[in-house]
């Protein structure tokens, strides 16, 4: 009974993470559409939520990477394997909420991977970590992807400006605004594909570690459906403060820049998802935004804000790992059974409600400005 209760707690926690992932990453998906005036905030967010849901069903390559290429399920399959997964998830959720509270668009994906790696290190040591998978499928593609999005967006915006050169701005702006419906839609689809799969992967990892599924199994349909639903609901709930940071504080964008950055981000994420690389959508879209800004003029990018975001990126893996390891330690101190996860879940819910109330008292949600 205890094991099943922990499994239920892990699944619920994973879906809660998925919700915060969508909530936290709404900005990545819709900020450029909103900031260029291509879509109203409500329409952009609803559109993104629906496409997030659909995107989750497109592929399961990333889920397979998370389930078997980051940590070794066999090494975890001990009495407290589910506590390890639970602690990793809580580390990721905690870091997501901390960065959300301060309006920093850090990576939910890296928070998840950092949390799981941290709790696994604390529980089993380095033997549980699949170094090859972690480096080859997560870290190296994770570094290359935002650079690629940056370069592609820069090239794309240069080509765009050449093609529409000497045309009246009215029709051009209307054209790219219309184009952003497609590029924004593709980005939302790509986001759903890559990010929802990470939760599917974690739940599958827990099911394998608990012996419910055999090693190497694909996520069952109920896992795919529930992960798709959670990320879509999270996206619909939105994260307004981060939208403002991503959409208007990095650069002031025109519609062509918005289209180029979204197109570059969507293409890079979708291609990577096809090969099972669990990218940070945050990193990729911000790379695209900076690329489309720098092609216009170097000073268009607000480097101070960009620097803060990069700092948050660098902190994410170790910070989430440290929190994951600490939470695992607490579960051990609580006896290693169901008690630890139950106490931590209750305390976390109370802290999250307190954070929301505090944020609400500090002021109403901030809508993105238009440029």
């Amino acid at each position: 009974m205890d094991a099943h209760l922990i499994l239920i707690i892990v699944v619920v926690t994973a879906l809660a993470f998925d919700f915060t992932n969508g909530f936290h990453d709404t900005a990545n998906v819709v900020a450029t559409s909103i900031s260029t005036g291509a879509a109203s905030p409500k329409a952009a967010i609803a559109f993104a939520a629906v496409l997030n849901f659909i995107g989750a069903f497109i592929s399961i390559e990333v889920a397979a990477t998370i389930a078997s290429d980051v940590v070794d399920p066999d090494a975890l399959s001990g009495a407290d394997a589910l506590n390890v997964v639970f602690a990793g998830l809580m580390g990721a959720i905690a870091w997501n909420l901390i960065t959300w509270y301060y309006g920093l668009p850090s990576s939910s994906s890296h928070a998840l991977i950092g949390g799981i790696v941290g709790s696994s290190l604390a529980a089993v040591g380095t033997g549980a970590i699949e170094i090859d998978g972690l480096v080859g499928k997560v870290l190296v593609p994770g570094v290359i992807a935002p650079i690629l999005a940056f370069l592609v967006a820069a090239l794309a915006i240069s080509i765009s400006y050449r093609i529409v050169n000497n045309l009246r701005p009215g029709p051009v702006n209307r054209g790219y605004r219309f184009g952003q419906i497609f590029s924004g839609g593709l980005l939302a689809l790509a986001h759903g594909t890559n990010d929802a799969q990470k939760t599917m992967g974690v739940i599958t990892l827990a099911l394998i570690a608990d012996g419910v599924l055999a090693a190497g199994s694909d996520p069952p349909f109920w896992v795919i459906f529930s992960a798709a639903t959670a990320i879509a609901l999270g996206t619909y709930s939105g994260g307004w403060k981060i939208i403002k940071t991503t959409g208007t504080k990095i650069i002031k964008m025109d519609t062509a820049q918005g289209f180029s950055s979204q197109g570059a981000g969507a293409a890079v994420i979708m291609a990577s998802s096809h090969f099972g690389f669990p990218l940070s959508t945050t990193h990729v879209i911000n790379g695209g935004i900076m690329g489309s800004g720098i092609a216009k003029r170097l000073s268009a990018v607000r480097w101070g804000v960009a620097g803060n975001i990069v700092t948050a990126w660098l902190l994410t893996l170790p910070a989430a790992a440290a929190i994951g390891a600490t939470i695992y330690g607490i579960t051990v101190l609580a006896g290693g059974g169901t008690v630890g996860p139950v106490i931590i879940s209750v305390v976390s819910v109370v802290m999250i409600i307190a954070a929301f109330i505090r944020r609400a008292r500090r002021g109403a949600p901030v809508a993105a400005g238009h440029s």
């Binding site: 090859d132 967006a153 765009s160 093609i163 054209g175 291609a271 096809h274 690389f277």
Partner: protein, 81 residues
């Protein structure tokens, strides 16, 4: 001794880089040409140069079809693995 060169699947990574870059650039070119075609259609129509106007409109129309085709192919390739 593990080195990055040995643990990274360079073939998959390069395919991913190439697919992402080429599809994004193609999409940008096609959409931008469509926008140019549509904008020029309005300009030429106002100048009563209807031959050029219809040619520009055709460019716009073709670009819409190509954009939709590119998106469908991309999603199909992802979904079918």
């Amino acid at each position: 001794m593990i080195t990055i060169a040995t643990v990274v699947s360079w073939s998959e990574l390069l395919q991913s880089v190439a697919a992402g870059a080429v599809s994004a650039i193609l999409l940008t070119i096609v959409v931008s040409l469509g926008i140019r075609g549509t904008a020029k259609y309005v300009d030429y129509s106002q100048d009563n140069r209807m031959g050029l106007a219809y040619a520009s409109l055709a460019v716009g129309g073709i670009s819409v079809v190509l954009t939709a085709t590119l998106i469908i192919i991309g999603i199909y390739l992802m979904a079918t693995g």
